[in-house]
Symmetry: C2
Subunit: 422 residues, 2 copies
C-alpha cells in the first residue's frame, strides 16, 4: 500500500476490524505486507511497524509476496502514475482511489492491465463508498445508458444544503466548512467543479462505452450561487445542487458540471449534507439511483477493500466495462442545441421600464417565461427578478442573457442555472 | 432459456436490441440457442422460431452448445428446481429470477454450484433491475452489515402511495391496481408480504453471512392499513411503507416485513409508485441506498442479462457472498426485546373516560406517549385516536395494546405500526 493518509489509515483499520469476515467473503485472507509513504515517522494512529517499510514506492510492485498494489497517494501524475505503470507492467493487480489519475490516464493504464491480464480497479475514485463503478460496469451492463448524472462532490453539497437550511451566503458557509475540516484551505478543486468533472468523465466512459474525455467536461462551480438564488429557486419549487451530467446521443457526448435546479419530486433534491448520489438511465432498467457517503476514511476504505475482495475472488473484468480498443470516440455535443428549462436571476434598478426591457430581451431571443418573481428588496434599493423559462434551446437563453446584460438597468451579473428535468 | 412469459420476452428483446453493446461489454456474443416453455404455439410477440425448441425443460442442461441456463418459470419447487439441479450438476452456470426458489433452496443450489465451480446468479430475484445483490455481495463486501431493509414489493408501494396521494381506501385502490394489471387477481402473495419476505431472507443472508432463514421472517401485509392510518401518520410527520427489515446483532437474526412509519427525512419516504429501494448499513461505508424499478419486463431482463454478462466475463463468485460452509446459523431474535417507537391508531366510543382508559393502559404497560391526536369524526360517531409512543421495548407496546383491547370502548381492531428510525 502506497500512501498512509486518512484513507490509508482507514484501509488498515478496516482490514483489522473486519478481518475474519473479509476472509470468509474473499475466500482467503487479505493482508498488507508492505507500505510506503513520504514520512515514515509520522504518527498515524495505526500500527504500521508490523508492515515492511519501503522507501521507494515503485519498489512495492517488485515484492515477491505482493499480489496487488493499493495506491492512495493522489495526484494525476508523478509517483502515483509511476507506481501504477510499474505494478501493471509487472503483471500485478492495481487498486486506486485516485480520480485525477484515472480521469487523465485511465485508458493507458487499462491497456496495460489488459495486456497483463490483471485487474485495474478504482471504485473509491467516484462517489466514495457507493459501489457505482461496479453498478455501471456490471450491474447496468445490459443497458444502453443514455444519461448519467449526480451529486459527485460532498463539499459542494454540504455548502449548498447548509446555505439552503440556514439561509446563509456562500462565503460564510465555506469559511465554516474550512474551519470544520469539510473543505480544503484551497477549496478551488472542489468548489470550481474540477473534482466533480474528474468523476463525471469516468462515469461517462463507463456508461456510454466511450473513451475518457475529461477535457470535454464544461465545469462551472458554486462560487457565484447566492443565498437569494437558493431562496428563489425554492419559491419556484426547486433545490439547487451541483450536478455533474453526461449524455450520449446522436449529437455526440455532452458532459457538464454546473449548479442546477432540481425539482422537489426528483430524488437528487433529497440528497443533503455531504452525501453523494448517482443516477443512471438505461434503455431497459429505467432510472437507477445510488446514494451514500461520498468521502471520508470509512466509506473510501470500504470501496478500496471491495476492490481487493474482487481481486481476491479472481474477478478481473474490463476496467472501463469493455476493452479499451472497443471504446467509441464520439464528438463533443454543442450545449447550444440542448433543449431545457433555465432559471435566471437578475438584480436591476427599481424604475419604470426595466421589466419591459427584460421581457423584450426574452421575446427577441425567442424565450418564453414559465414563472416569474419580482421582489423590491435588494440591499441597494434595487429589485431582484427570478424567472424560469419554458423549455427552449440553450443558445436562445444565452442570447437572451446577452441582450439583458446590454441594459444599463442591470446592477449585477445575472445568474443562469439550468433545470434538471425528470 | 426456460420460461417465455413477460420476463422471458423481455430478455429476448433486450438481447436483440443491445446485441452489439453487450458483445463489447461481455467480450463475446451472448446468444440464446434453445428455449423451452409450456406452450410452444402461444404468440409472445417475439420471434422464437429461430431458437431450438426443447419440450423437456431439463434437457436444456444437456445441450452441448449451452453454457448457461436461464430459468424464468417461477415456483419454488417443481420444474424450476429440477432444472436448477440438473444444470448445476452438469457443471453449467445457472441464472434465475426466481425469488421463491432461491429463498427456499438457495443454499442447496449454491453448494451444487460450488462443487461444480460454476456461477449461480439471481440478481433479478430481488428488487428487479436494481443491482442490489451485486451491491451487497461485492460492493459492500468489506463491511460488517448490521441492518438491511427496504421497499421490496412494488405492488404494495403502488397501493400505499396511491392511498396516500388520492386519500382512498385499500380495497378501492387494490381493485383499480388489479384492473390495470399492477396487481394479480389473487394478490395475497404481494399484499400479505410473502413476496417481500422471500426477498428479505435473501438480502439478510447476503448481508450478514448467515444461512437463509425464510421461515424466520415475520410477515404482516398491508390489508389492514386504512386511509385514516396514512392520513394520521402524515399529520405526525411520517409516511406509511411496507418495509422488509433484517437486523443482526448479539441477540441473533431479526427479520420482519411490516407496514411501517417512515420519517419524511428518510430516503424511503420519497420512494413512490411501484419503485423499490434497499438500504444497507455497514460499519465502514455507512448507509448505502439503492433505488429503481422493482419489477416489469425491462428492468427484470436488465438484471438477468447483467448476470449473463458476469458469466461471460468469467466471474463466478460465491452465490451468497461466501461459501455455504462459512455461513453462520444465528438464532432468531425476539421482537419483544426490540426498542423503538410505535404508532397506534384506535377507534373508540366518544364518551367520558375513554381517554383515561387508554392513558392508563399505556401507563400500566410502561409506555409513554410522544404525540397524540384525537378526532371526533368517524362515520359511526366515534372518535379516532392516533398516537406515537416514545422508544420502548416492543413487548411493552404489545402489552399496552392487549390492555386497551380489554376496554369495552374500542369500536374496532387497533392498528399498530412500528416506526423506522434513522
Amino acid at each position: 500500500m502506497a500512501g498512509l493518509g486518512t484513507v490509508g489509515g482507514g484501509v488498515i483499520r478496516l482490514l483489522d476490524a473486519n478481518r475474519a469476515l473479509i476472509e470468509r467473503r474473499a475466500g482467503r485472507p487479505i493482508e498488507i505486507v508492505a507500505v510506503s509513504a513520504r514520512d515514515r515517522s509520522k504518527d498515524r494512529g495505526v500500527d504500521i511497524a508490523r508492515f515492511r517499510w519501503v522507501d521507494d514506492m515503485t519498489a512495492l510492485a517488485e515484492g515477491g509476496d505482493v499480489d496487488v498494489v493499493v495506491e492512495l497517494i493522489g495526484g494525476s501524475d508523478g509517483p502515483a502514475l509511476a507506481l501504477a505503470r510499474k505494478t501493471l507492467g509487472a503483471g500485478k493487480a492495481f487498486v486506486t482511489a485516485n480520480k485525477a489519475m484515472i480521469a487523465h490516464h485511465g485508458l493507458a493504464l487499462a491497456e496495460l492491465a489488459e495486456t497483463a491480464g490483471v485487474a485495474l480497479k478504482y471504485e473509491a475514485a467516484v462517489a466514495g463508498g457507493i459501489p457505482v463503478i461496479k453498478g455501471l460496469r456490471e450491474g447496468a451492463a445490459a443497458n444502453e445508458i443514455t444519461r448519467v448524472y449526480g451529486i459527485l462532490n460532498g463539499t459542494c453539497n454540504y455548502i449548498l444544503t447548509t446555505m439552503e437550511t440556514d439561509r446563509r451566503d456562500f462565503g460564510d458557509v465555506l469559511a465554516e466548512a474550512q474551519a470544520l475540516g469539510y473543505a480544503e484551505s484551497d477549496p478551488s478543486f472542489d468548489i470550481d467543479g474540477v473534482d466533480a468533472a474528474h468523476k463525471l468523465s469516468i462515469l461517462a466512459s463507463l456508461s456510454f462505452g466511450s473513451a475518457l474525455d475529461f477535457k470535454g467536461v464544461v465545469a462551472t462551480g458554486i462560487r457565484h450561487v447566492t443565498a437569494a438564488d437558493i431562496f428563489e429557486a425554492q419559491a419556484l419549487g426547486f433545490r439547487v445542487r451541483l450536478v455533474g451530467m453526461a449524455e450520449a446521443d446522436g449529437d455526440g457526448l455532452f458532459q457538464r458540471v454546473h449548479p442546477c435546479l432540481v425539482p422537489l419530486s426528483h430524488p437528487l433534491a433529497h440528497v443533503t449534507g455531504s452525501l453523494n448520489a448517482v443516477v443512471a438511465e438505461g434503455n431497459y432498467v429505467g432510472r437507477l439511483f445510488f446514494q451514500g457517503a461520498g468521502a471520508g476514511d470509512g466509506p473510501t476504505a470500504s470501496a478500496v477493500v471491495a476492490d481487493l475482495i474482487d481481486v481476491a475472488r479472481g474477478e478481473v473484468g474490463p476496467a472501463f466495462a469493455m476493452p479499451v480498443g472497443s471504446l467509441a470516440h464520439p464528438p463533443r455535443a454543442d450545449s447550444g442545441d440542448r433543449i431545457g428549462r433555465s432559471f435566471i436571476r437578475l438584480t436591476v434598478e427599481d424604475r419604470a421600464g426595466v421589466l419591459a426591457e427584460i421581457a423584450m430581451a426574452m421575446r427577441d431571443a425567442g424565450v418564453s417565461i414559465e414563472s416569474f418573481i419580482q421582489r423590491g428588496v435588494t440591499e441597494d434599493g434595487g429589485a431582484l427578478i427570478a424567472l424560469v423559462t419554458h423549455a427552449c434551446p440553450e443558445r436562445c437563453v444565452a442570447d437572451a442573457l446577452e441582450r439583458m446584460t446590454r441594459s444599463a438597468s442591470l446592477t449585477g451579473t445575472p445568474m443562469l442555472m439550468h433545470i434538471l428535468d425528470l
